[in-house]
């Protein structure tokens, strides 16, 4: 095989993996949009907040230390203990559930039946709030996420594929990051368990009922408020997973919240209401932008990925305005 072909293959594989990382973020959006029609811009900040909380709990940080020190003139930062990763994750999930309850009680509850754009703006307000709140609670310095996920290129794969290229070509074997492989595995488990949950549990059925028709669901005795808390909790959990993966990749700091921007074209492509759409959309965006950067990027100066993802999604949309897997828009008079 020629090295060029192998390189292209490598780009495609890595694109798929990157796509999975985008999908992880997009999933949270889809869950909430499906259940409540809210385009939750705060999903990215939720991922940041969850990751910060996880690291904070793990390393025994004192919440609001900076604020307390500023007010009382004390000098305290750490409890001085370390919490095992597993326990810390469980505690963080608890925090995210609490967060979901607060959001439902103080925001969503008061905005029932508002127009989508109002709800959207409310979530941006929420994102602002959480950005400031997270920083006050845990501090704004860069933190390292360490929950034992391996990273670095897979040596085994590199050596195994080294001989594939023709003799004498510049080729160093296939490169795939172990972290990406783990992320793929996690994403698969996440999607399968979400599907099982929504298909085979009572709560899952209620969720789907609400997604189909709020009024009808209400009329058969499903509590909308409870459902919203559950959905936001699940979305919080998904945000935590995304936060862990992205945090392990780039450290836990402010920019983590900007991953939301990478999820938007995925949503556009996959449709706001489809979980498989979020996955497939992520894969298409991942491969598309990486291939474009690989093939065309060097000719036009590079750094094309940010806009190309959107343009790619836009091109799909022009032909299918509701996204690949979105519900068909039927116009009637």
């Amino acid at each position: 095989m020629s090295a060029d072909f192998l390189y292209t293959l490598e780009v495609i594989l890595n694109g798929l993996m990157a796509g999975v990382m985008y999908s992880l973020v997009a999933l949270g959006f889809v869950l909430i949009f499906k259940a409540s029609g809210i385009f939750n811009y705060a999903q990215g900040v939720m991922a940041l907040f969850a990751a910060m909380t996880l690291v904070g709990i793990q390393t025994g940080q004192i919440p609001f230390a900076h604020l307390i020190n500023a007010i009382f003139g004390t000098e305290m930062h750490h409890f001085g203990w370390q919490v095992p990763a597993f326990l810390a994750i469980i505690l963080t999930v608890g925090v995210m559930v609490l967060f979901a309850m607060i959001v439902e009680k103080y925001i969503l509850h008061h905005l029932v039946n508002q127009e989508p754009i109002i709800l959207f703006m409310a979530t941006i307000g929420l994102a602002y709030f959480m950005e400031g709140f997270g920083d006050i609670m845990w501090g704004s310095e860069i933190k390292t996420m360490d929950v034992g996920i391996p990273s670095g290129g897979s040596l085994w794969l590199e050596e195994y594929t080294l001989g594939w290229a023709a003799e004498g070509e510049r080729y160093w074997g296939m490169y795939i990051d172990k972290l990406d492989m783990v992320a793929t595995l996690v994403a698969v488990i996440l999607v399968v368990s979400l599907t099982l949950f929504s298909q085979y549990t009572k709560t899952g059925r209620a969720l789907r009922a609400v997604a189909d028709d709020h009024q009808a669901a209400l009329s058969v005795g499903i509590s909308l408020r409870a459902i919203w808390v559950i959905v936001w909790s699940i979305a919080g959990f998904v945000a935590l997973v995304a936060g862990i993966m992205w945090g392990a990749k780039s450290g836990v700091q402010f920019s983590l919240s900007l991953i939301a921007l990478k999820a938007l074209p995925v949503l556009m492509l996959g449709g706001f209401t489809s979980i498989p759409g979020a996955i497939i959309g992520g894969l298409i965006i991942g491969v598309g932008e990486k291939l474009f950067e690989f093939a065309i990027g060097p000719m036009i100066g590079g750094a094309t990925e940010n806009w190309f993802a959107y343009v790619l999604a836009l091109m799909f949309l022009v032909f299918r305005p509701q996204g690949l897997f979105g519900e068909k828009i039927i116009e009637r008079v």
Binding site: E141, D177, K249, F254, K290
Partner: protein, 427 residues
């Protein structure tokens, strides 16, 4: 109606809340929030702590207390305007905006307001031409001299010849990151090496494409002009593809304590710097005694001695020395911003001055002149030691290839002068 009330309250607050007029005002436009907070916080701490030290230990500068009103910009240029306007009325002596974008914005403004603008290691490189940029100082080094210094170091290691080598520039795709490109292009022509440009968009969490490209092309060296999260991700990706760390060079904004990997991950990673590292200087015991122990530190103390903290300290020292120079020059205690500008123009940062300030050999010795606001552009190379988890200086502060840079500075500054109708001064 409500808005009007708010506006009234706002306006009255603005009028009332003007800081207490201190005698020497050194505003600090800091960013302790936003995407670059991790770098901005220690920088601002160092700047503030130095003046606190002077006030506590020496009773200010020449007997006049210094004050450092801090204004949070969040690395946002629009907020920078607000900060500039809100502090300049208090008799600000010098501005150090700590952001390239804000520097560009302030260059015309400070010139009109007769306040010196000092950008240590950032900002507009061609501002080194004092004939065009009368109020802007970018000593001791800038992005172009830094790039040249890195190339020199690469040449040294290669035994003086880098013709035919491949060097990649991984840069933050913004004004800051693009700065070194003309210099590197000129140097590539001169030394006959191949330059590959690899931009990374803000914020730079996803750099897979870029590093796959690097892995394919295997450049002999990498120069990185990164900032914020981009640095950490780049280092992680470099380690992932097992790129040799000692062939990687960062500019000074890419070689801080935040820019490292766990354990030996980034051992050997190098970078250019224009000031020394570590806390092995007399001044640090004074800071401990007069500032930290007295509970007057700007930060929580954990940053003292870090690269960014030292950079803040160093910048403050330059400003304070200029203030002293101005006091001596004009024989007054309360210097004005115009006098500060004149002082900066004749600033002599000799080894003795630095030693007297408790920071011997902390930065390069240099002199500023009317025509040259950038100094000789001396820079050193620092290297990360994974064993001790700290940066170490390797080699001395050395001069860049001014033969290449000087014409570039001249061309760019003259283009600016022409565009803005500025007649260069006679120097």
């Amino acid at each position: 109606m409500k808005i009007k009330q708010l506006a009234t309250v706002a306006l009255t607050t603005l009028a009332v809340s003007a800081p207490v007029a201190a005698d020497l005002v050194f505003p600090s436009l800091s960013y302790r929030t936003g995407p670059y907070a991790a770098g901005g916080a220690p920088l601002a701490d160092g700047y503030a702590d130095y003046f606190t030290l002077l006030n506590q230990r020496d009773g200010g500068i020449g007997g006049v207390m210094a004050s450092v009103p801090e204004c949070e910009t969040g690395y946002n240029t629009a907020k920078g305007v607000e900060c500039y306007e809100s502090t300049k009325g208090d008799g600000a002596l010098v501005y150090m905006p700590l952001s390239t974008g804000m520097t560009y914005q302030l260059i015309p403004k400070v010139t009109a307001d007769d306040i010196p603008l000092v950008t240590t290691g950032y900002g507009r490189t061609s501002a080194a031409n004092g004939r065009v940029f009368s109020h802007v100082f970018n000593f001791p080094a800038n992005y172009w001299t830094g790039a040249s210094r890195i190339i020199n170091s690469i040449m040294e290691e290669a035994g003086g010849d880098i013709s035919g080598k491949n060097i990649a520039l991984v840069y933050h795709n913004s004004g800051y990151g693009k700065e070194p490109i003309p210099t590197l292009k000129a140097l590539a022509e001169k030394h006959n090496f191949n330059l590959t440009l690899i931009p990374v968009d803000h914020p730079g969490q996803e750099q897979k494409s870029q590093w796959l490209q690097i892995r394919r092309e295997r450049p002999d060296n990498i120069i990185m002009y990164g900032w914020g999260v981009m640095n950490q991700v780049a280092l992680q990706e470099a380690a992932n593809i097992r790129y040799p760390m000692d062939q990687m060079y960062g500019i000074w904004w890419s070689v801080t304590e935040n820019d490292k990997l766990e354990g030996m991950g980034s051992h050997g990673y190098k970078g250019a710097t224009f000031h020394n590292v570590g806390s092995n200087y007399p001044i640090f015991s004074d800071i401990q005694k007069y500032v930290t122990d007295a509970g007057l530190a700007a930060g929580d103390g954990s940053n003292v001695g870090s690269v960014m903290y030292n950079r803040g300290l160093y910048a403050a020292m330059l400003a304070a020395e200029a203030a002293k120079t101005a006091q001596n020059m004009f024989g007054v205690k309360d210097v004005t911003s115009g006098q500060m500008r004149d002082a900066f123009e004749v600033l002599d940062m000799s080894a003795e001055v630095m030693a007297a300030a408790g920071m011997p050999n902390f930065g390069p010795a240099f002199q500023v002149s009317c025509a040259n606001h950038g100094g000789p552009g001396l820079a050193a190379i620092q290297q990360w030691d994974g064993n001790t988890q700290e940066w170490k200086l390797i080699g001395d502060f050395e001069a860049p290839d001014m033969e290449v840079i000087a014409p570039l500075i001249k061309a760019d500054s003259e283009a600016y002068a022409k565009e803005n109708n500025i007649t260069p001064r006679d120097c």
